[in-house]
């Protein structure tokens, strides 16, 4: 028997299980909400039979785009979280902890207040903000001359703080009636304003980021070694790190500009992925993405149903994420 066959079939089982979870969560998410669509009606809608026009309108303009976006956001945040943790060689790196997400929301807040808040302007500004944070992070780490794991986290804290200061400044200057609440919506994250048009607009960005990460998957694994080691294996580390970071930032910024900040999913899902698959490569990153999709779909369903109004989704992901981090802290095990 080939060694590794047993683990291979176990991996396959994990993949099938998480796909089933994503599918179930997707279906549930299509059904629940302020206007519930029962499963029978859902089948009618998909097969094109005549049903109640309100249900049709709710389904196509709100429910389906929202569900798709929650799944895509969970997938993208977790995929890029997994990639961040790999290239930074730090199991605590994630788009929100190292400042990319808050950089993006700084860009978005700026566009809301100073550029009229149009969809295209906000997306581009969010992307620019996220990218700026990523470039500043690499610059800061380069200046510090320390290549240890803590350096990236510390640099991330610096950038997070700076971005937050910028967000506060913009908030201070914002019109309290309209703009301030729009910025607040950003920082708590929600899928309630997702429309088919927004999803169509950012889909190419998400696909481009995912494709880039897919193409760079082998280089990403090479970057998980020591700097010297990967350079001696022929990797132009700085250039490749920029490429990977660009793709991951593209993905995160694309999501954040529609959903606002969503905490912890990008940090936790890769841990679950590595715990279950017991390895770290692009398969694990994709698996983590699926785990993240299931998690965020579930969180969004709860956000819609557990109170009379809409709950911001970051409340749920953070409330779920912090205990999980505590569990990672105290559990017995050699590696994170």
């Amino acid at each position: 028997m080939m060694p590794g066959t047993a683990t291979h079939s176990k991996d396959l089982l994990c993949f099938l299980a998480v796909l089933a979870l994503v599918g179930t969560a997707f279906l549930v998410s299509l059904c629940v909400g302020a206007y519930p669509i029962p499963l029978t009606e859902l089948i009618g809608l998909v097969s094109g039979k005549a049903v109640n026009p309100t249900a049709r309108s709710v389904f196509f303009t709100l429910r389906l785009p929202r569900t798709f976006m929650a799944a895509a956001a969970g997938f993208g945040l977790s995929l890029s979280g997994s990639v961040f943790q790999t290239v930074f060689r730090n199991p605590l790196a994630s788009p929100d902890l190292i400042g990319v997400a808050s950089g993006a929301s700084m860009g978005a807040a700026y566009a809301i207040v100073f550029w009229g808040g149009g969809m295209a302007a906000v997306s581009m500004s969010a992307f620019a903000g996220g990218m700026l944070a990523a470039v500043l992070l690499l610059g800061l780490v380069g200046l510090s001359r320390r290549r240890g794991m803590a350096t990236f986290v510390l640099a991330g804290i610096v950038l997070n703080t700076l971005a937050q200061a910028a967000v506060m400044t913009v908030k201070f200057l914002a019109d309290p009636e309209r703009q301030l609440s729009t910025i607040e919506f950003w920082t708590m994250g929600s899928f309630s304003n997702v429309t088919a048009g927004k999803v169509r607009a950012i889909l190419p960005i998400l696909l481009a980021g995912t494709l880039g990460l897919y193409l760079l998957r082998r280089q990403t694994t090479l970057l998980s070694l020591d700097e010297d080691e990967s350079r001696m294996l022929g990797v132009r580390t700085t250039l490749v790190r920029y490429g990977v970071l660009l793709c991951a930032t593209l993905l995160v910024s694309g999501i954040v500009c529609v959903s606002g900040l969503i905490g912890f999913v990008g940090l936790i899902a890769p841990h679950i992925g590595r715990m279950l698959l017991k390895r770290n490569n692009f398969d694990t990153a994709v698996f983590s993405g699926l785990v993240g999709a299931a998690l965020l779909l579930a969180a969004d369903c709860l956000a819609r149903t557990c109170s009379a109004g809409e709950l911001p989704v970051s409340i749920l992901t953070s409330a779920l994420g912090a205990p999980f981090l505590a569990y990672l802290l105290i559990r017995k095990g050699d590696t994170i």
């Binding site: 998980s224 010297d228 001696m232 022929g234 390895r279 770290n280 590696t335």
Partner: protein
């Protein structure tokens, strides 16, 4: 006739800031030769090795592998000429041993390319050559330090570069594993088309496994012995210069060094 020279360094000079670490080092490696670089802590062993690798910028002189000046090359082209074995690999996440070894294909693959079935077959036969076929499919992080170094050695063989530079590959190993790893390194270097330069601390291992020994002191190479031709007294003089009072004993057809 002597085998051809694969690596040749001339008047290599290396600095950290304004501090000169390597003054002027000349060395060459012939095909099939495993050469030890001995020196006390702080003598510049690692800096010299890193400079030859291109990891540390040369402040003067040059290093050529097969006649090609390495300083002018990009990482990928250089990785086809020089491979490097660190004290220990920096892998932090679980990864399968064969995936670690397959990383050696990188210098020959396009940026987005993936290793194919042929590469996997080659890695498998290299694992068999190093007697680590049973480690195929295991998690690299769960291996012993000795097994890890053998997997890294497999990766270096996959990389197939003429010059192998090894930075204290035995520093994390126990006595038995050091012998095991050096035996394999020696047979790889003698296998053809390769030469090796290894920094280490224990002169006994240098005497047992290397063809020549270079002595590094205060940033320059202060002596050299060819192990097979050296006399006991010649060795004693050379080693005493570096280590102070040492005694070289004849033992089982070879030599052993003890500090007196």
């Amino acid at each position: 006739m002597n085998p051809p020279i694969l690596l040749e360094a001339e008047r290599v000079r290396a600095c950290y800031g304004s501090r000169e670490i390597i003054r002027s080092a000349d060395l060459y490696l012939r095909e099939g030769e495993l050469v030890a670089l001995l020196g006390l802590n702080g003598s510049g062993k690692t800096t010299l090795l890193r400079s030859l690798c291109g990891l540390h910028r040369l402040s003067g002189g040059r290093c050529r592998v097969r006649g090609i000046d390495c300083a002018a090359l990009r990482e990928k082209a250089r990785a086809r000429l020089i491979c490097y074995m660190p004290q220990r690999s920096g892998a932090v996440y679980s990864i399968r041993t064969e995936e670690v070894a397959l990383m050696g294909c990188n210098p020959r693959l396009p940026l987005f390319g993936m290793p194919g079935e042929g590469d996997r077959k080659r890695v498998r036969s290299i694992f068999e050559q190093l007697s680590i076929a049973h480690l195929w499919g295991s998690d690299f992080l769960h291996l012993s330090e000795g097994q890890k170094q053998l997997v890294i050695l497999a990766r270096a063989i996959v990389q197939d570069a003429p010059a192998m530079l090894l930075d204290e590959p035995d520093s994390a190993l126990d006595f038995v594993n050091r012998h095991l790893v050096f035996t394999q390194i020696r047979s790889v270097v003698q296998g053809g088309g390769r030469c090796g330069l290894v920094t280490m601390h224990d002169p006994n291992f240098a005497l047992a496994y290397c063809d020549r020994i270079l002595f590094l002191q205060n940033g320059s190479i202060c002596g050299e012995v060819e192990v097979a031709r050296a006399s006991r007294s010649g060795l004693q003089t050379a080693l005493s210069q570096l280590y102070g009072n040492v005694e070289v004993l004849e033992y089982a057809g070879g030599y052993a060094v003890v500090k007196s």
